[in-house]
Symmetry: C2
Subunit: 635 residues, 2 copies
Amino acid sequence: MSPSSARPTLVTDVARSPHARLLPVPVGRVGLEGELWGRRGEAHLLASLHQQWEQLEATGRLENFRRVSGRSERPYAGRVFNDSDLYKWLEGASWALARGPRPDLARLVDQGIALVEGAQQPDGYLDSYYSLERAGERWTNLRDNHELYCAGHLLQAAVAHRRATGSDRLLRVATRVADLLCAEFGPPGSGRRPGIDGHQEVEMALLELYRETGAERYLALARHFLESRGHGLLAGGWFGRAYFQDRAPFREMDRWEGHAVRAMYYACGLTDLYLETGDRPLLDNLGRLFTRMVSRQIYVSGGVGSRHDGEAFGEDFELPNAQAYTETCAAIGSAMWCHRMLLATGEARYADLFEWTLYNAILPGWSLDGLSYLYVNPLEDGGGHRRQHWYDCSCCPPNLARTVASLPGYLYATEGEAIWVHHYAQGTADVDLGGRTVSLTQRTRYPWDGRIELVVNGQGEFALHLRIPAWCAEGASLTVNGERVGPPPAPGTYAVLGRRWRPGDRVQLELPMPVRHLEAHPWVAEDVGRVAVTRGPLLYCLEGVDHPGAVLRDLAVDPARPLSAAWEPEWLGGVVVLRGEGRAHPLPAAWEGRLYRPAGAGPTAAPRPVPITAVPYHAWGNRAAGPMQVWLRRG
Amino acid sequence: MSPSSARPTLVTDVARSPHARLLPVPVGRVGLEGELWGRRGEAHLLASLHQQWEQLEATGRLENFRRVSGRSERPYAGRVFNDSDLYKWLEGASWALARGPRPDLARLVDQGIALVEGAQQPDGYLDSYYSLERAGERWTNLRDNHELYCAGHLLQAAVAHRRATGSDRLLRVATRVADLLCAEFGPPGSGRRPGIDGHQEVEMALLELYRETGAERYLALARHFLESRGHGLLAGGWFGRAYFQDRAPFREMDRWEGHAVRAMYYACGLTDLYLETGDRPLLDNLGRLFTRMVSRQIYVSGGVGSRHDGEAFGEDFELPNAQAYTETCAAIGSAMWCHRMLLATGEARYADLFEWTLYNAILPGWSLDGLSYLYVNPLEDGGGHRRQHWYDCSCCPPNLARTVASLPGYLYATEGEAIWVHHYAQGTADVDLGGRTVSLTQRTRYPWDGRIELVVNGQGEFALHLRIPAWCAEGASLTVNGERVGPPPAPGTYAVLGRRWRPGDRVQLELPMPVRHLEAHPWVAEDVGRVAVTRGPLLYCLEGVDHPGAVLRDLAVDPARPLSAAWEPEWLGGVVVLRGEGRAHPLPAAWEGRLYRPAGAGPTAAPRPVPITAVPYHAWGNRAAGPMQVWLRRG
């Protein structure tokens, strides 16, 4: 599609945030094409949104709203936080509307908004669980029951809908909810409740509502919620304080701990707070938390949250593969945080992790047909972990939809008289740059190929910042109109092309994409003696379906014997497949029925050569059930 | 101490069980001496029992009984299953009374029984949680609230108390409870409730009560409970059916899954059922489940239950070290199961696992002073996991007490005209053998030394079965009165000495105990490239306190460079310590701040020799907090 909207459809509207370095280019001004983000990002996004609407209906999530407005007699259905699934869906559908007219979808959005409107109470309160028979229990269990979390997602949906459509309809509902929160909650001495929610979300939502409306009270309330955490308000439940990031105030935290989605949403709210307040020690600590996370707590996929127990961050270097939790929502939260840190600092490391997470920790959660999902994302599986159309706790599907729908809004940014290109994908963008419009056209098969041609249609002097991904260790090369410019740009930085541009100028960026084998820090116990295969921004894996008769755990690859890349248009919707020779290490018969034995006691059978086929990890689990393995035996 | 009781103080009274091959020698007929089971098993057992009584009082567990009898106004305190802690304590204290007179302890036992008596309802019901204000909720949540589990522990305590003291006082309470259960619960068509408990325990307790009383109805009810499992009666809660072993009937189970303590208690009940019914397919399947467990699901410590999430068995080969759950109670359950399988079959593999589990998975849960405990038993730790005097969910401390107190009852058995010696420890036994008494005296420093002298004081012809442990791969040697007998007995079997004995005959068994390095099956992901150090029946570990300045994860040992063993009377209450030279692999500076890198990219720093000191794993965590590691880098 091509850009269509003149509205400022900003995912994060930092236009007036005094401490934002970069301003994103709106969703509606960026068009995505090509195999991956064009075809899948369009047709499959719409398929997901329609399929999710059906699930919202089939599982009683919509009915929960109807019963509050008296249009249903059914009892409340499902989890206490089920309202949030409609809100996330409305946010995703709104971003989809920002990308072009979709009358069918617009009708569903209107129906959804009508349901929400109908469930709002006279005083502005809105939560279908805490209405009717539970109306007297409002605010009684903020720790466990997600009341403010749901409100936050409503605020986000309302902001997205206003930006996408210009309509104030959902925003009117949301501001009444937010004003009620402002009346109910406040700091000590205010006479209001101190309470904070067990699941962060309302903080970044209030900050975004502040940006949308300019009402300072929303900023103040967000700050109150953020500063009230870490003092034990959430103690006493089944989970400990660490689960809620309530063990220490954020200024004293030196690592992420506890529930990973909560932690990442917290990080987003804190970064949003910095963007408005310029609290430099806060930003510095967020930077340290990021460094700790990427150097000790993150999977090679970019996924975070190692533990099933508490859906939580583990200890440093605790990164099991088959037991990885790495919830899709946690990856989305991490990417949202990266986006905010990038806006605050312009540091390439945040765009690097955004990209890696998008391709290797978010996208795996979305099936190739857009109709099923993964909640948990193991890096190794025996064949039992399969995609589902919906979940009892179904946070991930609509979270995926809103992320994919808003993706165009993450690609570009401006900084005064400069355009920043964070991510590469076939498509176009119309960038407002100090009153004039610069049109950019990317021609590329990225992420399958590292050649990017950028046609710049703009007049006059400005700078183009092009991200050189950190994975591009071999050295990028850069030409303008066929002439090499500057020294080779360093990986993990932005190359800056400052010049007087003329319409039709062509920038060519070449990012070599050899197959690369990664090894993990020796303290990652499960990865000892193993390597992971990557190419460009993509992590690869082996699937059993491509290796009939083989035991994936016993297949080895040798980094000195490179795999070769081939575009396979018929595979998995079109992917680059890696092929080469590996070795199968037969399990010695001496192990039959034994778990432990004297070291070195048994004979070692010679490995035999076998053909190896690796596919992108994000495409796993879309064929016949079978084992999958990211970390491969080395040798 | 020396044997004192003439009562049949059998831990498991299979004297009239038609399908038991072996009959254990009673607790009261076996005396334990020596450093470990003499000193610790006596003084520290009493210290534990007195300290636990204080905790039962301090945490309101005793008060919960008083309130039911009207002697307290306090609200119910703690978890729904807290009654069971007093019952397990009563069982442990009773076994301690079976070993000799202990007036102070006997007084506490009487006080405890009086509390229990006072809380029994007129109809026989007894559960302090479901009394008074919750009396109307009886039997409403068997899945989650442990009502029959608590009843089961009461039955076990009553049986132990009767066997130890001859008093029927607690047994009268228990049979009224059991009779009420018989009136309430029964198979379809009986007009009674089908319900089964979410946590197995009542099954083996009813079977033991059947053995104690001869009342067939208890056998019938136990069978009903066991056969009702696996049909979905426990579905629908937060945990899935697998957690409760309710996914398939026991005849169709091919591996243990779900909560490990539940699974092991289930195994005990099922084996008890076989012992009474002779259901051969049931025994065969239990044997297969055992084989699967020891070849795919067990830690090198003998611990079971890999996952924090659900305190559960994991997938095959899922055996993380720092994140090992391996609850002390699960190890106790496994040992109790081994004991029953041994009674049923006489197969040495069950005695082998009992011993290994006792030393390396149960004993680690008990501090050297007997006053603190471990609930979770990791095989690697950063220094944060410490012993506690008590737990909110405090199942493990009294479970340890009853296990240590009844330990003498696990050492010997008879089979017609044969005596079986399962375990070696300094001490004595008076064995009834077809009307006559054979006195055995073991002189040994086992487990620190493999030389065992057995003085047999008995007349006439009978066989002595001596277990040759499976770990004894080097070959045992056996003499009687100095003369070598038979071929060298094979490890993992019982050597049989059939002869006409004369008083004072001396049997000498020599079990070589070299230091041995074990490696794990290649599919145990965290143990790749690592070895565990053992000697005799003991697993060893490294502790940070013995390696100041070293990083345990980076210390390596070479199986070709053996460690040497030395008795250290002043260390850890007297242990054999292993010492030798290892190598410290310094972490290359290239890893600083990095988690992944191109394979083989960095320089490899040369390791340097360092002295290594390994201590028995069961004694870890008794000194200054610091890291601990069982699986050591190899090389």
